[in-house]
């Protein structure tokens, strides 16, 4: 409870995921916050040119917020920028579209409001920082973020053992190895457990997926383009199958 004993005031920092227009000059701002998880709050007057919030509540901004709990939506009373990732990203179209897909995925993977999602928050901060710094191909940053987000949500694809029977790659080697990738199966399977319609990704693609999950950037950066393209396709399909939602931004992602 706040000082006046009636209104609950709280402070948290988070990344602005998206905004919706509300009424004449307000916006509903969706934030993935460090402690509170995904929150939706009203920013009053933010669309006016003289708003005290200015550009602080634009998507991609890492902000420190002071809010009070409302009846249906919370209300933002103060906002301070910690890091404006959007400024860099909007000036580079492929990175902007990549970043948008990351924001939408983070939103879809936190379906329940105010349920703490610290690991998802830290992943998003790390992903946006990597995207902004430009040290890696945006496609790789996006796929690393998607694969790790799935892992955090409990949907990590099985890449080193059969998703169905648990046979390791070494054990499966005599009978053809782990070559089939099934969306419904949960990753790679041995030939015995292969589901109809499974893909057969190249070994280099599987190695790239493992590297992205582990954060082995030396391997990922050196990977071949065809493996990167196949990895993006598999990751996007796997994500959308498990989310049971399409990620609208993914089809607009432009690769440099």
């Amino acid at each position: 409870m706040g000082e006046n004993g009636l209104v609950a005031i709280y402070r948290d920092d988070g990344i602005v995921l998206r905004t919706h227009k509300l009424g004449e000059a307000d916006r509903i701002v969706t934030v993935l916050a460090r402690k509170s998880g995904r929150i939706r709050a009203v920013a009053k007057g933010v669309r006016r040119t003289k708003s005290r919030f200015g550009a602080r509540l634009e998507p991609f901004t890492h902000v420190d917020l002071l809010l009070y709990t409302g009846r249906s939506l919370d209300v933002i009373t103060q906002a301070e920028t910690l890091r404006p990732y959007g400024e860099q990203l909007a000036a580079d179209y492929p990175r902007y579209t990549t970043g948008t897909a990351m924001l939408e995925t983070a939103e879809k993977l936190t379906p329940v409001e105010k349920e703490p999602a610290m690991r998802q928050f830290l992943l998003l901060v790390g992903g946006l920082r990597a995207l902004g710094e430009g040290g890696h191909d945006p496609r790789l940053v996006l796929d690393a973020f998607l694969l790790r987000s799935l892992a955090v949500a409990g949907y990590a694809p099985a890449l080193e053992e059969c998703a169905v029977c648990g046979t390791t790659a070494l054990q499966a080697a005599p009978s053809g190895g782990l070559r089939a990738f099934g969306l419904a199966s949960g990753g790679l399977t041995c030939q015995n457990c292969r589901a109809p319609g499974s893909a057969t990704p190249a070994l280099g693609t599987v190695a790239l997926m493992v590297a992205l999950l582990r954060g082995d950037w030396d391997h990922a950066d050196a990977s071949e383009r065809r493996h990167q393209v196949e990895c993006s396709g598999l990751t996007a399909a796997y994500l959308q199958w498990h989310l049971e939602h399409s990620i609208r931004s993914l089809k607009h992602v432009e690769h440099a």
């Binding site: 000036a91 948008t100 897909a101």
Partner: protein
């Protein structure tokens, strides 16, 4: 719940942006108590606007004919096109009485999270307008928010190789505001775009 047509009116008014159920009820009862001549005039304007107003075939601003009054005005400079998101942005820029060129209304901004990509905007039509070589400058006056900036970046990348001058209105401190309340991005832009003071 009210009877028949009164409830229909409340329901229809409730569809308008920013009007909730209570507001719709208040407007409905105001109309019922107002002078019937005034109400009929409002109804006539509503019918007329749906029948007569369309989009200009050149710039996609709202117009009463095939072309809007700006596109028809021969005194407007055809070598400069100001690209905006919505027709209401045209009205805002016209109010300053500084700009003498023409417009192009995109119909929104690129927002992948809302499923809006470049193909959903009138970008192809803009590129067609640039094909005849009469245009020398494009002003990208999309909103100074993230979607607007990204749209401007996309358009600049498309238009610059043609060899046109591509500009964007300045961003910075609002006149009448106070410096300490400016956010870091706005203040940063204001410093980046600072100008010499002529005395």
């Amino acid at each position: 719940m009210y009877e028949g047509v009164v409830q229909d009116l409340i329901d229809e008014l409730g569809q308008l942006p920013g009007v909730g159920p209570k507001g719709a009820q208040r407007i409905a009862f105001y109309l019922l108590s107002a002078d019937p001549i005034d109400v009929k005039r409002l109804a006539a304007v509503l019918v007329e606007v749906t029948e007569r107003v369309k989009f200009c075939r050149v710039c996609f601003n709202v117009a009463e004919d095939d072309e809007c009054r700006i596109c028809k005005d021969v005194r407007r400079d055809p070598s400069v096109i100001c690209v905006v998101e919505e027709p209401k942005d045209v009205a805002a820029i016209e109010k300053i009485r500084e700009f003498r060129g023409r417009y192009h209304v995109l119909g929104g901004a690129i927002s992948p999270i809302d499923g809006v990509g470049p193909d959903d905007l009138r970008i192809r039509e803009l590129m067609t307008r640039l094909a005849d070589g009469a245009v020398t400058e494009i002003i990208l006056a999309t909103d100074p928010n993230l979607e607007g900036e990204a749209t401007a970046t996309y358009l600049a990348r498309l238009i610059k190789p043609i060899g046109l001058r591509v500009t964007r209105p300045a961003s910075g401190l609002p006149v009448g505001g106070e410096l300490e309340y400016a956010d870091e991005v706005t203040l940063g832009r204001a410093f980046e775009g600072r100008r010499l003071v002529d005395v």
